[in-house]
């Protein structure tokens, strides 16, 4: 009996001392930086767009664009603008749209092997600056000669990001449906010559103490 009581008392103190130690300021242990596969799920979980979504959607759009006859079968390679300007974010997702459009453009340029040409319209200011210097005779004409104007485009990548969020406070469940719409717009006639979607829905539930 005596031993049992002593054991119980000591046990109480051990539990309490452990708890008290936890109540004191604690420093989280750090970890070394490690490389991860960009197509792997993020370690930090949420219902938003992750790196693997950006990689997957960009690669899917590139593969699909490379099979569009209007782009690939023309004797004169079409000129295309791929930048984030008309890729509208109407969603609840805070995102750098250029992550997606840059990846599409870079992979298209590398894969199309000259069958499409790309206009860097977002850098038009830099081009104009150089052309003015050439016009003023402050620099020479370079090695590729002069043109009457900068390149006009035949097509432009446009699109929209949309989301629908849902929350159930009874269960603490959050879900988000995300839809990325990609389209190729004829810049003379206004026709949409290609469209594709990338969509996903994510759901999670936080711990009860945060609801």
């Amino acid at each position: 009996m005596k031993n049992t009581l002593l054991t119980a008392a000591v046990g109480v103190l051990i539990v309490l001392s452990g708890a008290a130690a936890d109540a004191a300021p604690r420093k989280a242990k750090g970890s070394d930086t490690v490389y991860r596969d960009t197509t792997s799920p993020d370690g930090v979980k949420g219902v938003g767009t992750e790196s693997q979504d950006i990689v997957s959607m960009s690669d899917a759009m590139v593969r699909d664009l490379l099979s569009v006859p209007e782009l690939m079968n023309r004797p004169t390679p079409p000129r295309i603008i791929v930048d984030p300007k008309y890729f509208r974010n109407e969603s609840s997702e805070i995102i750098d749209k250029a992550l997606i459009t840059d990846r599409i453009r870079v992979n298209l340029i590398r894969s199309a092997q000259g069958r499409m040409r790309f206009v860097g319209r977002e850098y038009a200011g830099a081009v104009e600056e150089e052309r003015e210097l050439k016009d003023a005779g402050k620099v020479d004409v370079g090695t590729t000669g002069r043109t009457r104007a900068q390149a006009g485009a035949d097509y432009r990548l446009v699109g929209r990001i949309g989301t629908r969020d849902a929350i159930d406070t009874r269960s603490g469940t959050k879900s988000r449906f995300s839809q990325y719409t990609f389209e190729l717009l004829d810049m003379e006639y206004g026709e949409i010559i290609w469209s594709n979607l990338y969509e996903f829905k994510k759901e999670n539930r936080d711990d009860v103490v945060y609801r």
Partner: protein, 391 residues
């Protein structure tokens, strides 16, 4: 029972009372107008469970000082941690466990505090001319508020709805702007909207942050109280000789002490419990022509809530957070640099922005010496954001 063993046991229990009756010690409060530096230091010295709270303080204080780089990084970090799911986190498990108090969990803030993180982040996006991400931030803020409601995707955080409309207006997404304004009309029927040519937003804050005061046996719950002292509740934007009344779009204390327009009684086992009869949450908006009952009416129209809200009162919401295995110990950690009321005003100011000042009033009477210049910045698209706070 042998005396030594009894003493040890009783001593242990006494220690238990001493160790767990009070919330875990937190660092002392700092003045409302203190800069972000002390909180940057606290990131290292304070408990790790207060990380988000300290980032919130850094974010708001750096924002109002004009240190947007620091504010941005602090708010982004807070957002990441708010968004993170803590389903298997150790501290959440401890907060549920016997003997552990509510305050030992990682702080993510109450819905109004989480919403304000997105509000400030959205304002920085506006300042940078990134209207789409600003709109996304304001929408995300509304979702934080919607957390507290019974149904999905409803929010009565009018300041965020207004800012969503303004971001769409600046981005020339007129359809989206109109949609948000229609939603705002249900929450603030007397808000006049903004003109098509308006290009300048004045965002003003008055009063001090809502307070959370522990109450009940072992401080098992806390009550909300309006920040004090509050010397002003109205703002006029002065352009030369002309003084124009800013619209009081949001009462932060009201947001803290209600959910979806209903007064909180408690949250029990993860579910908000509302008072059976509406008591009435005092609001300065009622003093400044914004009728709070309209919010209830709007929500009634949506078929969600039965009781309309009462008018002015001093009763605050009571929040009790317990789970079946948690020793009651309310989490009274508070984002102390929030305002009491948010006011907005829009105009076609053009560039350069005319010299504007703000005059603060209490129930229509100007406070002596309380006129401040607005801090205005114009983005690359020639749209201007002007900021001013009373304190």
């Amino acid at each position: 029972m042998p005396k030594p063993a009894l003493c040890v046991l009783l001593g242990g229990l006494a220690l238990a009372g001493g160790a767990f009756a009070a919330p875990p010690s937190s660092l002392p409060p700092l003045p409302y107008d203190a800069g972000p530096e002390p909180f940057v230091e606290r990131l290292e010295s304070d408990r790790p469970t207060n990380w988000v709270l300290n980032q919130m303080e850094i974010g708001a204080r750096a924002f109002w000082r004009g240190d947007y780089a620091l504010a941005k990084s602090a708010l982004d970090d807070a957002i990441q941690r708010i968004d993170a799911v803590f389903s298997d986190s150790e501290s959440a498990a401890k907060a549920r466990r016997l003997w552990y108090d509510e305050g030992s969990k990682d702080f993510k803030g109450e819905p109004y505090e989480r919403a304000m993180v997105f509000l400030y982040r959205g304002l920085i996006f506006l300042r940078d001319g990134d209207y789409e991400n600003a709109r996304a931030a304001f929408r995300r803020g509304q979702l934080q508020d919607a957390f507290a409601e019974e149904d999905q995707n409803r929010s009565d955080f009018a300041a965020l709805v207004f800012l969503e409309a303004w971001a769409s207006h600046l981005n020339r997404d007129l359809d989206l702007s109109q949609e948000a304004l229609a939603q705002l009309k249900r929450l603030r029927p007397d808000f006049g909207g903004f003109a098509e040519k308006d290009d300048t937003l004045v965002f003003a804050e008055t009063g001090l942050a809502p307070r959370k005061l522990g109450d009940g046996a072992s401080h098992s719950y806390f009550v909300y109280r309006r920040g004090k002292p509050i010397g002003e509740n109205q703002v006029q934007v002065v352009n030369g000789a002309a003084a124009m009344q800013a619209y009081p779009i949001e009462d932060i204390y009201y947001q803290a002490s209600t959910r979806g327009g209903r007064e909180i009684d408690k949250i029990l086992q993860g579910k908000a419990q509302f008072k059976a009869t509406t008591g009435g949450v005092g609001s300065f908006l009622a003093d400044t022509s914004v009728t709070l009952s309209s919010v209830g009416a709007a929500l009634d129209a949506g078929g969600q809530f039965g009781d309309a809200m009462a008018a002015v009162g001093a009763v605050s919401g009571v929040l009790l957070i317990v789970s079946s295995s948690t020793k009651p110990q309310a989490d009274v950690r508070t984002w102390s640099s929030l305002p009491d009321t948010v006011h907005v005003f829009t105009l076609a100011g053009g560039v350069p922005t005319p010299p504007l000042t703000a005059r603060f009033l209490k129930s229509g009477t100007p406070l002596e010496g309380a006129e401040k210049p607005l801090r205005c910045e114009t983005d690359p698209n020639r749209k201007t954001l002007c900021l001013v706070r009373a304190h």
